[in-house]
């Protein structure tokens, strides 16, 4: 691995990044431009829509309502502990259930600023705290020993990850932290204007 970034559409765009200029990126079928290994497998590139995953897995028959009930559980957990997922540097999470024929599938989509592989164990620990990975127990093929077997948990996630072939960012590459700083600055600036009245 060269110490300098490998020149790919992702790094080329990122080097000249400009938040005022919306950007799109087409991604090869494998999900990456050149194979670069992280601790648990290939690393996926940062795109104009930041890092992310789309995990799609079939649910065990009859578990739909159980999974839906987690929506409320996690809403409450985050309301009680708003910074519970801070480590993941998330922008958004989306949970979706949908049917294909007689089967029901669960789609878990996240957009965030860190490479997921880097913080996998932290993510698993956080998921345990707020109950995300117990919802995974309702998915077919989820390892029963996930509590003591992080590599098996990671393998499941990677096997069910479906990489995007296109990602778009209206304000490309900006991190959640930068956006929060900008909003904070706006708030402070309004406050300053108030004080000057």
């Amino acid at each position: 691995m060269a110490a300098t970034l490998v020149e790919t559409p992702s790094t080329r765009i990122e080097k000249t990044r400009d938040w005022t200029k919306p950007a799109a990126m087409a991604i090869p079928k494998e999900g990456y431009f050149s194979l670069k290994n992280g601790r648990y497998g290939p690393l996926y590139p940062r795109t104009p829509a930041c890092h992310g995953f789309t995990i799609i897995a079939k649910i065990k028959p009859g578990r739909e309502e159980t999974i839906r009930a987690y929506g409320k559980t996690i809403e409450t957990a985050i309301s009680d502990m708003p910074d519970a997922l801070a480590t993941l540097k998330l922008h958004y999470l989306r949970w979706v259930l949908f049917d294909i024929g007689k089967d029901t599938y669960f789609m878990y989509q996240g957009i965030f600023d860190t490479d997921f592989d880097k913080y996998t164990e932290d993510a698993v620990a956080l998921f345990k705290k707020v109950g995300v990975n117990t919802v995974f127990e309702n998915l077919e093929g989820f390892p029963e020993d996930w509590k003591t077997n992080v590599p098996a948990f990671v393998k499941f996630v990677r096997e069910h990850q479906r990489p995007s072939f296109l990602e778009y960012g209206e304000y490309p590459y900006e991190t959640a932290d930068e956006i929060k700083k900008a909003l904070q600055l706006k708030a402070k600036f309004s406050e300053m204007l108030d004080l000057m009245q």
Partner: protein, 459 residues
């Protein structure tokens, strides 16, 4: 990282009452990660087993020489401390069956050289440049000898050499002699930084954590077979005897480019005081060891050596923007304290020392190799050691820095920067040179005594 170590902690013998599952079997655990030996010299020998029977015979005899944690705790006055560890290929060479071999974690089976990309070891640090057979699958075992002084090390070296000549089928791939560098009043490495200021205390050993270090860490984070920070553990290597009282070691031989380091300080500081401040900003501590968070403007050697105070700080509350201790400095990366999640799952135990002659202050670079040859001990290489290397050391975007790596031990090739937060405008050092180069490395399994006997008795 000189070899000099303080005597045993006063706390030995005052260990907390532990429930049975957590009570450490000191007589079955090698001393290496549990207690530091008061050594001034060391020698590492890297071996290959040409014949399985010779390997087993060698191991059987060596078990009698291995120093257990119980032996150190008994307070006996030793002059040398022996540790034996094996690579995955080494256990295969001893005749361990495929089922057992496949029960070891993937990263250990692959070995450090194969994991180089994950660890960020590129350019001059890439395994293709490593020496001493460390990147080879022929690397089977390491003997780590720590000795009270150089004459004792030499006595042991000759004795082991004689024994090896009788084994018929074992070769020394390479070896490394280590000696503490003066001044000997505290442990330091070739750049002059004081070392060993922040080490985790292991629950059940009686060691008390220094103020600011948080509570003692569950033994299972370092020794297999005990509860870790998340509770009881599972999925250890098979058979069961191998998953009790062992640990994993990551070995790193890191050359320190002292001439380049001193040139850099002179380039970025006109006066001695300015140069010391630049050195402190790279590390996060003054070279004396005093932490910048507690004394940002000037050095305080007295504070450095005061174990009640020298670790008693955090980053998130006391220095959130890095005005005292830069966000990308070495100590902020290696131990982010309150600015990282699950810190208790990332702790590691460091052992090792300095090799090569010291470069006298004011002397020009002499081209001789010098550096640190150290071990990181843990229960999971992928979760602890590899995480630290991959994220804390070499992730350019650590703390949103964008284009920085650890200024001391990150893989540097002149394309990364170092930001020093400062009011009103930060200072940015562009194109940081490499002060260190990895010259070799390997993963080893540090078995318990019974596990060593099991391996020596394979047929």
């Amino acid at each position: 990282m000189a070899i000099y170590s303080p005597p045993l902690p006063k706390s030995v013998g005052r260990e907390l009452q532990q429930p049975d599952a957590a009570r450490l079997e000191f007589d079955d655990i090698q001393h290496f990660l549990i207690h530091r030996s008061p050594a001034l010299a060391a020698r590492y020998e890297f071996l290959t087993f040409r014949k399985p029977a010779a390997g087993r015979a060698w191991l059987k005899a060596m078990i009698e020489k291995v120093t257990t944690a119980a032996a150190v705790r008994s307070g006996q006055l030793d002059t040398r401390w022996v540790t034996v560890a094996l690579s995955w290929n080494g256990m295969r060479a001893l005749g361990l069956d495929d089922q057992s071999l496949s029960s070891f974690p993937e990263e250990f089976r692959q070995g450090m050289a194969t994991r180089a990309e994950v660890l960020g070891m590129a350019g001059a640090s890439h395994p293709e440049h490593w020496r001493g057979g460390l990147a080879s699958t022929d690397l089977h075992a390491i003997v780590i000898l720590f000795a009270r002084d150089v004459p004792e090390r030499e006595r042991c070296r000759v004795e082991h050499e004689k024994f090896l000549s009788e084994c018929h089928g074992i070769e020394v791939l390479s070896s490394l002699d280590l000696e503490a560098i003066p001044p000997f009043d505290y442990a330091h490495e070739h750049f002059g930084y004081r070392d060993r200021l922040s080490q985790p205390a292991i629950e059940g050993t009686g060691d008390e954590p220094m103020p600011g270090s948080g509570p003692a860490i569950k033994a299972g984070e370092f020794v297999l077979g005990y509860p870790d920070e998340e509770g009881p553990t599972a999925n250890g290597p098979k058979p069961e005897i191998l998953s009790r009282n062992g640990s994993y070691l990551a070995y790193l031989m890191m050359e320190e480019h002292v001439g380049a380091f001193r040139d850099f300080l002179r380039q970025h500081g006109d006066t001695q005081d300015e140069q010391e401040l630049v050195a402190a900003k790279l590390m996060g501590r003054w070279r004396s060891g005093a932490p910048l968070v507690l004394t940002p403007e000037k050095d305080d050697p007295k504070l450095a050596g005061d174990y009640q105070r020298t670790n008693d700080f955090d980053f998130g509350k006391m220095d959130p923007h890095g005005y005292a201790c830069p966000l990308g400095s070495h100590i902020r990366r290696m131990n982010p304290r309150d600015t990282a999640a699950n810190m208790n799952r990332r702790k590691m135990i460091r052992r090792g020392g300095t090799y090569g002659p010291p470069l006298p202050e004011g002397a020009p670079e002499d081209g001789r190799e010098r550096g640190i040859a150290a071990f990181v001990g843990c229960a999971s290489l992928v979760r602890q050691f590899e995480f630290a290397m991959n994220v804390w050391t070499n992730d350019p975007n650590f703390h949103e820095l964008g284009n920085e790596r650890d200024p001391i031990c990150g893989t540097q090739d002149g394309t990364f920067d170092m930001t020093i937060p400062k009011r009103p405008i930060r200072k940015k050092i562009k194109r940081l040179p490499a002060f260190t180069t990895i010259r070799g490395g390997a993963y080893f399994f540090l078995p318990g005594i019974k596990a060593l006997r099991y391996l020596a008795s394979l047929t």
